[in-house]
Amino acid sequence: MVEVESEYSPEADRIMSVSLGPQHPGAGHFRIRLWLDGDYVVRSEPDPGYVHRGEEKMGEYRNYIQNVPHLERPVILDSSNILFAYSLGVDELMNSKVPPRGQYLRVIMSEINRIISHMYFLAIQGYFMGHTTMITWCMGDRDFWIDLGERIGGARVTFAYVIPGGVRNDIPPYAIEKGLKTCDWFEKRMDEYEKIFFGNPMVHQRSDGIGVLSRADAIALGATGTVARASGLTFDVRKDEPYSSYEDFEFKTPVLTQGDSWARAYVALLDMREAVKIIRQALKKLPQGSVRLKLGPQPRVPAGETYARTEAARGEMSYHIISDGSPRPYRLKIGVPSAKNLRVLPHLLHGVHVADIPVIYWGLNYWPVENDR
């Protein structure tokens, strides 16, 4: 059955329709249409598309290497992970085996990006709860990870580091030492986050039991990533189908069962703890050898079809790539996690107070630019 969001008619006199966004300070380029009965949301409808850039159409006009820089633009917070899935797909179509050092460097960079993305998420989540310490701490500490990424990838946020065939360049030796130090420091720092943010009674009051998503609904609505794992689902592509040597590292998939906004933020912190473990193991065990295969400026990709996926910071990042043997992809579908979690939003907003909307909305770890592509 098609879900009925409300028993109220939006046309009735007492129902007021309000547009939240697209100039909302936290929401960014995104609008939510709301129908309110007093302070309660009786119906809501997300309205994305303000930053649609036609990435999929652009992908059909460019060859497989030219596609690298523009494909990371939808989610610059998590730029390695969106390219990671693309590179896996192209590697699979070309039947190329990435050298072990390249595989490890891909893992290191995508875990650094996971931390960068989650730090931004926690910063804004704190801001939406009126916890301004969190935004200053997280934004500040995030920069140390951006610095580390800059030493490896050469750019601050859009690294274009993971490319088909491996990674763009080798890691400089001093970055290994710097990375290990950053891991040690950050683990202590996360203990402080736990005390000041997650142990804070105000944060608990603002997010406990707000926007509860049950496990069954998480499955039915197609939720993924932090949203799914906060609702008791164990989805983690790194564990389910280990790619790029993820089977070499010891880490857990954090799963919580409360399914509320507090759990969705806390699962991100637990994710970062595991990410630090993976980065440390990968830096210590980094194999010798080359970091990429020589593909040339216009690689020939045999005809075929693939569905490649990785676990990005927000959840499952997937690519449906169809090649017809020409230098350009015939079809390039980007299945971004924000689009998979968007259907959860109107479901959770039904019946909540207006004041809870920002906490629920940002708790989904939704990134408008990523959804719009």
């Binding site: 036609g54 999929e56 652009m58 299945g335 998979k340 968007l342």
Partner: protein, 131 residues
């Protein structure tokens, strides 16, 4: 496709039945995404539902359920009743390929501007400005 991926193709007439079967009997209950493909040379449009599973042990399996429909009159049934999460993915496939999902509650534009009156942009005969 690689291991642990399987593509099943059917017609719009049978897709709902197949969807219910793979969800209930095989446990593919988690929609991952919906993709469309414009096969202009054979005058067909293809809709592909990528579905995963929450059943322990088969989380790594992705099943692609696909249907093909004529380009000049692309009408297919909606599968929201099978996978609720497919709603916005189908809406996107509708605006990008002009495929009409019969029974869909809202097929207004999701990502495109409201006043878009050109061809659906991901069709192969639509050419981007400047190309």
């Amino acid at each position: 496709m690689r291991e642990r991926r399987l593509k099943v193709s059917t017609t719009p007439l049978r897709i709902r039945e197949l969807g219910i079967f793979v969800r209930d009997a095989l446990g593919f209950d988690h929609i991952s995404t919906v993709s469309g493909v414009d096969w202009i040379a054979r005058n067909q449009l293809e809709v592909v539902y990528f579905v995963g599973s929450s059943t322990p042990g088969q989380e790594d399996f992705i099943l692609a359920v696909s249907e093909s429909v004529a380009r000049d009159n692309p009408v297919v049934p909606t599968l929201i009743e099978v996978w609720r999460g497919a709603e916005y993915h189908e809406r996107e496939t509708h605006e990008m390929f002009g495929i009409n999902f019969q029974g869909h509650p809202n097929q207004s534009h999701l990502l495109l501007p409201e006043d878009w009156d050109d061809l659906p942009p991901l069709r192969k005969d639509y050419v981007s400005p400047g190309r």
